[in-house]
């Protein structure tokens, strides 16, 4: 069993950075990149645990995450582009029409 603690710590740090970014930044593109960061932090953790347990389950899951992330990028960027075109702004706080 290899010690995977450093990888987990790194993953945690990346995840925290990502989530803080999502919570604090207004620009949609940046928020989006922070989400990607969180996903990659998860991937890192998955791969690390796979290594620890010595099987491939975690790695398979990581592939799934990548595929989903890729799909998400396509859809997400498309949405952001549309919003930017109509509103001339990429700030998430400006797009607050979907409220009560």
């Amino acid at each position: 069993m290899d010690d995977v603690t450093p990888y987990i710590v790194l993953s945690t740090i990346l995840f925290t950075i990502g989530s803080v970014g999502v919570l604090t930044r207004r620009n949609a593109i940046v928020v989006f990149m922070c989400v990607e960061l969180m996903l990659n932090a998860c991937n890192l953790a998955l791969v690390a645990f796979a290594k620890q347990h010595g099987n491939l389950d975690g790695q398979v899951a990581a592939f799934f995450v990548m595929v989903v992330a890729a799909a998400e990028v396509v859809v997400g960027l498309a949405i952001i582009m549309t919003i930017f075109r109509t509103r001339r702004s990429a700030s998430v706080d400006d797009a607050s029409l979907l409220k009560y």
């Binding site: 989530s19 999502v22 919570l23 604090t24 207004r26 928020v31 998430v92 706080d93 797009a95 607050s96 029409l97 979907l98 409220k99 009560y100």
Partner: protein, 643 residues
């Protein structure tokens, strides 16, 4: 045939033999008028032209058949005179089996003759009476329906079948009282009659349930054979429940209020249903259930009390009414009281109850039809204060009515004399208090009938302008003549104690009682009381001019009698008004309180949602924060649990 009760009096057991020969046609007695009703109702306007003839024909056919059956029955041995015809099984559920069985015995055959006989006469009479009514065909359909149901009532061998007829006659009565239903008063009277009868039906329904629980059957045969095995409490309860039913159908106090209103119906209906046959069904029920009442002395006492109160109640009402039909209705109530009284006296009185029932059927139908004939000639006016001196204008009606009059007051030799005198005599011996009540009732009867007679046929003309009294056509007077003859000769039934002996297989034989005074003394006493009543009427009505409008400054007693002794007022105060308030309150409460419970909870949920949705402020980052917060919370909780 007989089982012994504790007291030693013999109680007859219903123990019939199967129907064969001519008796296998028994079902046809009911089927004929039933088919008539069905054809006339389903046939619609196509049958308008000949509907009344068909209706009359079925009734007459039924009468002829009844006559044949009666003659065949007299030809049999006394022990063989109970014949049962099994038609089919009506219900078979668990231990409960109810068949449509018809029981022909000395009791029911007398009813058969009365119902179909008087019924046929009234059918004939109605051909004339309803001639100008556009719905005459329907009238005959309802009359036929009534006859069929009434025959079912008296022929059924079990209480459930009896109930079938019992409600059938109630339905026919409802339809016929409300026949002129464009009149709101008629429609209201019809509904009232049905609803009050339904109160009585509570008694019959529960009685049937108790019969089943106690005996496992509702058949007369089974119950009469086992009645002595039931406990006193059960038997008394049964007796009281049956009495309640009888009170409803026979308009006995406290369920009497519907009968006077029922006079809204066409007069032939009043004659047939509300005088001669249907209202006496209660008496039939008590007499038929003699095997219960004989073992339930408390219930018998209750019957006597109800009967005595009613016979006086009805008589008093009859004294104050100016509406000829309502006066006769009060009289009917009172006369049924006499029959009930006799039935309440047990084995001593059953036969006389039936005897009076039959003679009353003759003379009261006679008088009602006479009243109808008078109304026919007086443009449907019913107010006796606007009659007077009609004897010359309507000689046949007058003479036939007079026969009925003499019969009901008990003029020696006429049918009512024999039957009523026997009831009063028996009552005085067996139950002196009730006997004295019956005696007083006889005097009051003499008063109100004489008053009616004098106001209608004697004195001066008080007719409204434009009224031209005339004798009715012969299709109406014919039945009057026949009924008048029967009113005179009905007493022949008692010739040589015939009716008492005839009924003894059904109701039992009374032990010999030596009356404390000779019977002739009692008869003279009754006659003198009646004479006092007649004389009073002569002094008050006959010798003085009758005002055409009823005087208002009258004694309290008269006002009370005009208001039916406040029977309706009592019902209004005790039942109708509280019921109306309860209904209105519940109707409001259902919408507000009960429904409010549910719509209220829906409202609370909606309000809560209204507050909670404020959290959806549209800022993505605040949603993200709540997601993170949630994750932290969950992870924290998991850690706490695991540690």
């Amino acid at each position: 045939m007989f089982s012994l009760s504790e007291g030693g009096a013999s109680i007859p057991v219903v123990d019939p033999v199967g129907a064969d020969g001519v008796f296998s046609l028994l079902w046809l007695v009911i089927a004929l008028p039933l088919a008539g009703a069905a054809i006339l109702l389903l046939g619609g306007r196509r049958t308008d032209a000949w509907g009344h003839w068909l209706g009359t024909l079925t009734a007459v056919g039924s009468f002829v058949l009844s006559l044949v059956l009666f003659v065949s029955l007299t030809g049999r041995e006394e022990g063989e005179r109970q014949v049962v015809q099994h038609l089919y099984d009506w219900m078979r559920v668990g231990d409960l089996t109810v068949s449509i069985d018809l029981l022909l015995d000395p009791l029911s055959v007398l009813f058969l003759l009365l119902i179909t006989g008087v019924g046929s006469l009234i059918h004939v009479y109605s051909i004339g009476y309803m001639e100008h009514d556009p719905r005459r065909r329907r009238f005959f359909a309802y009359l036929n329906l009534f006859v069929a149901a009434m025959l079912m009532l008296v022929l059924s061998e079990n209480y459930l079948g009896l109930f079938l007829g019992w409600e059938g006659v109630g339905l026919a009565s409802y339809l016929l009282i409300g026949f002129w239903q464009h009149k709101p008063s008629a429609a209201a009277a019809a509904k009232k009659a049905f609803v009050v009868n339904r109160v009585g039906d509570i008694g019959l329904s529960l009685g049937i349930a108790l019969f089943f629980v106690t005996f496992g059957s509702t058949s007369f045969t089974v119950i009469s054979a086992n009645a002595s095995g039931a406990s006193d409490g059960v038997l008394t309860a049964l007796g009281l429940l049956l009495l309640l039913a009888a009170c409803g159908k026979s308009a006995q106090v406290p369920l009497q209020s519907w009968l006077l209103d029922a006079m809204e119906g066409p007069t032939p209906v009043s004659a047939l249903i509300h005088a001669a046959t249907m209202v006496t069904a209660g008496v039939y029920l008590v007499v038929r259930s003699n095997f219960v009442f004989e073992l339930a002395p408390h219930a018998q006492t209750a019957v006597i009390v109800v009967a005595t109160v009613t016979l006086l109640w009805g008589a008093v009402i009859g004294c104050a009414k100016d509406d000829i039909k309502k006066a006769l209705a009060g009289s009917t109530m009172s006369q049924i009281g006499y029959m009930m009284l006799a039935a309440g006296l047990g084995v001593y009185g059953y036969a006389f109850a039936i005897f009076h029932l039959i003679t009353h059927g003759f003379f009261k139908a006679n008088m009602f039809l006479g009243a109808g004939s008078v109304m026919h000639g007086m443009d449907d006016d019913v107010d006796m204060r606007r009659y007077g001196a009609l004897r010359s204008a309507m000689p046949v009606t007058f003479l036939t009515f007079a026969m009925g009059y003499l019969a009901i007051i008990g003029f020696p030799g006429f049918s009512g004399f024999w039957s009523k005198d026997k009831i009063i005599e028996t009552a005085l011996i067996e139950s002196p208090v009730a006997g004295v009540g019956a005696l007083i009732g006889a005097g009051v009867t003499g008063f109100y009938m004489t008053r009616l007679m004098l106001m209608t046929f004697f004195g001066e003309k008080r007719w409204k302008d434009g009224v031209h009294p005339h004798e009715s056509p012969s299709v109406m007077t014919g039945p009057l003549v026949v009924l008048a003859a029967l009113s005179v000769l009905g007493g022949l039934l008692y010739l040589g104690h015939w009716i008492v002996d005839w009924l003894s297989p059904v109701v039992g034989t009374a032990p010999e009682h030596e009356p404390p005074v000779p019977a002739i003394v009692i008869t003279l006493l009754v006659l003198s009381v009646v004479a006092v009543g007649v004389a009073t009427a002569w002094l008050l009505v006959g010798k003085r001019p009758v005002p055409t409008t009823a005087p208002q400054d009258v004694s309290f007693a008269t006002r009370a009698a005009r208001a039916d002794l406040y029977g309706d007022a009592i019902n209004e105060t005790l039942v109708v008004n509280p019921g109306r308030h309860a209904t209105a309150g519940l109707t409001r409460g259902d919408r507000t309180l009960v429904d409010g419970l549910f719509t209220g909870s829906a409202g609370v949920t909606a309000a809560l949602g209204g507050q909670l949705r404020k959290l959806q402020n549209g800022f993505v980052r605040s949603y993200a924060l709540s997601v993170v917060g949630g994750v932290v919370l969950v992870v924290g909780a998991l850690l706490v649990v695991n540690l």
